[in-house]
Symmetry: C2
Subunit: 321 residues, 2 copies
């Protein structure tokens, strides 16, 4: 596990339990599949979605035997989307290790993602409710829609900020929102609190994705654990670039029209996006979502759990500004 | 719809209703996705799985508003696996029309399959039970395992008949079995009848897949609606070939060792498989499963519904021998 949770030993032990459930539920006869998923589990993600689910659940009547499986499902749904996204994006690296599609091929990656989906619904059938499954499947449909919209918008220089925000709301923020909602619902919080926690998740998710997209411009490969400039290479235009495209930057537009982009092109795009204030503006919007999340967190009942949520959100989002 | 059901106007109208539910449930904002799935729905499959589900349901207390959505789910699960399989097999044609992966690319095909999965579980959350969802997700996991086993066994000349049978049981027969089981369960049949119907589905599924695999050797492109010899080209060794490989046919083994197979090689493989009795032996096994299904159908309560099941099974499997 990532050392993100080192200062919270209770959360760390919660997440170890969640990891154990994940490992158990993906056991199967095809050892290649099991090992590929184990490698992904062990590659040290932050387990943000299950962690947020657990934090939300602690606002209600927390029963670990009911909450841990739901938390495992959230991470496994996330993993399934990662495995399939890496096929489409042709990604080589994820969390600093080779992706399943790169290591085992796209064929296995398709089935491994599918297998993860089926295991999620198996767990849900044993630990959730029909209503819970309804919410989960709706969110999953919207995630597909977000991914498809991103795929359809490849190399489209006319994508608006509004469309981008809708896309990341579907493909990222909805799952964060679902994490909070599932935890709150699963521990019997009232509707109002469920809704509020779910909104916090949405705002955190929006900020998180914008920051992730900015990092594709600003980070270096070692720190990020995946290739930099990957989005642009794949024709995926994200917020920093979209802001600059809106200003009708001719040079940027010309480079993007090239058939293939070499390292020099990527560096030039990077410089233009930075110099034209694209990164700065994207940061401001991420900050806006972050502040909205903080404001909502401020309305939660005071206590240790709200503090953990506050400090986690800070650690995740604020160190960036 | 295929004219397979023309002589059964009640079933035809049932299936039209099921098709309407499918079309409604795949409505979404991304019109490309919706249209791609509509084309697949309209390409005229036999809708065997929903039809068998409906036949099984008529042995119990048949309520169409409860049964039709479950029937739609079975076909949509099947469609999802087709869409993903075509990515892996690189298939160009399905039911005589271009596959989604060929027409729209592998990226869309991954997400369209995923979207279909999520819609299935949404319908199930509204019309099934937690137990039903548990059974469905377990079957889906086993289908994945069957597909993965097939993928892992590519170009493996040592695949045993036993392993092949296990594969087709997972990847095909389980879903037929589930169709019968879901229908029987959904209409309140007792456990014994559910089990018996589910066994009938399994035997029909086994015979159906063996026949499908034989057709890859014996049919012509127009009749089959997909490429002939496609399995071999993809390194997928099915029953007729496995039988001959077991006899240690050196010439066959040598051709299969080639890096690429041209039309002449495919014709020669075909001739060897036919002349060495591979097709004949495969037919015999398909017939054995068919007869087992008939025997079980013979134990069902007499009546119109059993007759339809009998004649449908005949039409599907027996005309072939």
């Amino acid at each position: 596990m990532d050392n993100f949770w080192n200062e919270y030993p209770v959360m760390k032990s919660d997440l170890e339990e969640v990891t154990r459930i994940m490992k158990k539920s993906i056991k199967c006869k095809e050892k290649l599949v099991e090992n590929a998923i184990l490698e992904l589990i062990n590659s040290g993600g932050k387990l943000l979605r299950p962690a947020f689910l657990i934090i939300a659940a602690r606002f209600g009547n927390f029963k670990e035997e009911e909450i841990y499986p739901l938390a495992a499902v959230l991470e496994m749904l996330h993993m399934a989307t990662l495995v399939h996204d890496d096929i489409i994006d042709n990604s080589e690296l994820r969390r600093g290790t080779e992706t399943i599609q790169a290591k085992y091929g796209k064929g296995y990656a398709v089935y491994i993602g599918d297998f993860l989906f089926t295991r999620c619904f198996k767990i849900l059938s044993e630990h959730s409710t029909l209503k819970g499954i309804n919410v989960d499947s709706n969110v999953m449909s919207r995630i597909c829609m977000g991914e498809i919209e991103q795929f359809s918008s490849k190399y489209n220089k006319k994508v608006s900020v509004r469309r981008y925000l809708k896309r990341i709301s579907s493909k990222t923020a909805e799952l964060f929102s679902l994490s909070f909602y599932s935890g709150a619902m699963g521990s019997g919080c009232d509707d109002k609190l469920c809704k509020r926690l779910s909104n916090i998740g949405h705002d955190i998710g929006m900020a998180f994705q914008i920051i992730d997209d900015i990092l594709d411009y600003t980070s270096d490969e070692t720190a990020l654990g995946k290739s930099v400039g990957n989005d642009i290479k794949q024709g995926i235009y994200t917020l920093p670039l979209i802001y600059v495209l809106e200003k009708k930057n001719q040079r940027l537009s010309d480079i993007l029209d090239k058939n293939t982009l070499d390292e020099r092109d990527l560096r030039e795009i990077n410089n233009i996006v930075r110099d034209s204030g694209g990164i700065e503006k994207a940061r401001e919007l991420a900050e806006k979502y972050t502040n909205r999340a903080f404001k909502l967190i401020g309305t939660l009942p005071e206590g240790e759990n709200t503090n953990i949520l506050l400090r986690t959100t800070e650690k995740l989002l604020v160190r960036f500004y």
